[in-house]
């Protein structure tokens, strides 16, 4: 049986469940947005720890798991505490589970720090944009000039920010920079690629948008972006697979920009990619592939029952 841990408010969760249903794989769910419904019981005997999760409506051994933790969408401390407790207990369980997990949260921290990830991508032989993390206004100005005034800025951590092209009218906001470091990158104009990696498989999606960050175009401005299935050189895709495995992930989404001159730079690696956004537009069957992977890689003996 497959256990799906996630959030019913999230867009991936309902698509994954309906695909599991269509594919005919037995599954149960933990909706972290309703943490009061669940209890995680831990039992230890003969050096082995077993977890039983109440509230899923089933008590079957879990052969594989899909995890995409809910994020806090409230300031209600009681609800936050309940969700924190459930996620803490589930994360402890995930540390000692024997079955395949897409993806273990402990392996998914690298995108907490985007410049750190840029460094990892560079070490993995990807081309990366020249990047600066700083809280010094003069440094931001220097970088802007050195990059021939073609610079974008965005957040350093994994908190949601959209990339923006740096323009002279932004300079007055540099007065806030000493309070909060920011990531500046040379602006590589061109088309975007999102490569989803599932173990050894890759799904390449090409996106063309007027906006420097296609997510703004698609999500905020309602712009119709071109989204289509595409290909990239095999060498790049092999590096994507190797990089994902190096991080201990089964699934990832790596973002690239390709300049008109053919320069392909890696921007970041998402350990919890929102693949439904891409497949809905491109027609690629990423969710189905993930569901089949989970179904076909289940272990027979499990220490988790849900």
């Amino acid at each position: 049986m497959i256990l799906v841990i996630g959030s019913s408010v999230d867009k991936v969760y309902p698509t994954l469940l309906s695909t599991l249903r269509e594919a005919g794989y037995p599954f149960s769910t933990i909706d972290e947005d309703q943490p009061e419904r669940y209890a995680v019981h831990r039992e230890s005997a003969y050096g082995r720890t077993t977890y039983r999760i109440e509230g899923t409506g089933t008590k079957n051994p879990v052969g594989a798991m899909f995890v995409r933790h809910a994020i806090v969408r409230t300031l209600d401390q009681t609800k936050i505490s309940r969700m924190n407790l459930l996620q803490f207990q589930l994360n402890q369980m995930l540390l000692s589970t024997d079955c395949p997990v897409i993806n273990k949260p402990t392996n998914a921290y690298s995108n907490y720090s985007k410049p750190y990830q840029i460094q990892l991508l560079a070490e993995a032989n990807f081309d990366v944009p020249r990047s600066l993390v700083t809280n010094v206004p003069a440094e931001a100005r220097r970088f802007y000039e050195e990059c021939e005034r073609q610079v974008i800025f965005k957040g350093v951590s994994n908190m949601l920010t959209l990339a923006q092209v740096l323009r002279p009218e932004h300079f007055r906001r540099f007065e806030f920079l000493p309070h909060c470091p920011t990531l500046f990158q040379e602006y590589v104009a061109g088309v975007d690629y999102r490569v989803h990696i599932l173990h050894d498989q890759t799904f390449v999606t090409r996106l063309v948008s007027k906006d420097e960050d296609y997510r703004r175009g698609a999500l905020i401005d309602g712009e119709s972006i071109v989204t289509e299935s595409a290909t990239l050189p095999a060498e790049i895709l092999e590096k994507c697979v190797a990089f994902t495995k190096q991080l201990g992930l089964v699934v990832s989404g790596i973002d690239f920009k390709e300049s008109p001159g053919g320069r392909l730079v890696a921007l970041e690696c998402n350990p919890f990619p929102q693949f439904t956004f891409y497949e809905r537009r491109s027609g690629q069957h990423i969710t189905r592939a993930i569901v089949d992977y989970l179904g076909q890689h289940q272990v027979h003996e499990s220490n988790v029952f849900a």
Partner: protein
């Protein structure tokens, strides 16, 4: 230049700093608000190299001039309340993510080079350390029953002595038994130096206290990567400080 990141109230930080200065090592000692709110930071990364500097007061330290980092911050800093809460949260994570990338890119000795689990306050971080070292040392997967089931933040901890507890401090390849009764445990770990070195490389934890529970079968109960030494025997503390200084200088 050696960077000492620690609280002025922390005796170990103060003693390590004093010993380094006594040896003529150039140091800068910054406490947590100075690091996260006052230090200017600039790091540039491209495909092949990394450069940048820190500006602490009037002193500029180029990245390549940093010879070592002693890092022992309690992580209690929070951005100024002049921002609204959402902005405080944003500033907090942006600052932590920046400092993580800065430290992760340094190639000099660091005690300790904490993993991202520690930086994001993952309350299962201690359990991850325990499991990884337990597996590395061939002690098997420890029983989880002793692990708290409540999300308690990992603050620095002192030794919690119980009837069956045993404790050693590990500094690089040097193992310091807490007491004479822990000597045999230190000998045993000294025989696994290569394994320990590999674990230290993987985790970035080159200084820690290992708490064992000996009930006939030796099990690692806890790994404390920021041990408190205030109540420890003088000889033990002296050895630890001396090894830390040797490792850094």
């Amino acid at each position: 230049m050696l960077l000492v990141f620690g609280s002025p109230d922390d005796r170990l930080t103060a003693n390590v700093h004093r010993r380094l200065v006594d040896q003529g090592v150039s140091t800068i000692w910054l406490d947590e608000p100075e690091v996260f709110a006052e230090t200017q930071l600039s790091v540039e990364i491209n495909r092949t190299h990394r450069s940048g500097f820190l500006q602490c007061g009037s002193e500029t330290i180029m990245l390549h001039a940093i010879d070592g980092v002693f890092f022992r911050l309690p992580r209690v800093w929070w951005p100024s309340s002049e921002f609204d809460f959402q902005d405080q949260l944003f500033v907090y994570h942006e600052t932590a993510a920046s400092w993580y990338s800065f430290l992760a890119g340094l190639r000099c000795p660091q005690v300790n080079r904490f993993g991202l689990g520690w930086w994001v306050h993952d309350v299962s971080y201690a359990d991850q350390l325990r499991r990884s070292i337990s597996t590395a040392l061939g002690l098997g997967t420890p029983d989880s029953s002793s692990i708290p089931q409540l999300p308690i933040r990992n603050y620095p901890t002192p030794v919690r002595k119980t009837q069956n507890s045993r404790h050693v401090y590990v500094i690089g390849d040097y193992v310091v038994p807490r007491t004479i009764g822990d000597q045999d445990l230190a000998v045993r770990l000294n025989a696994q130096k290569e394994t320990l070195a590999h674990w230290q490389q993987e985790t970035g934890i080159t200084f820690c206290r290992l708490d064992f529970e000996d009930t006939g079968v030796m099990v690692i109960h806890y790994v404390e990567p920021m041990p408190m030494l205030e109540d420890e025997p003088f000889d033990t503390v002296d050895k630890i400080e001396s090894q830390l200084v040797q490792r850094l200088s």
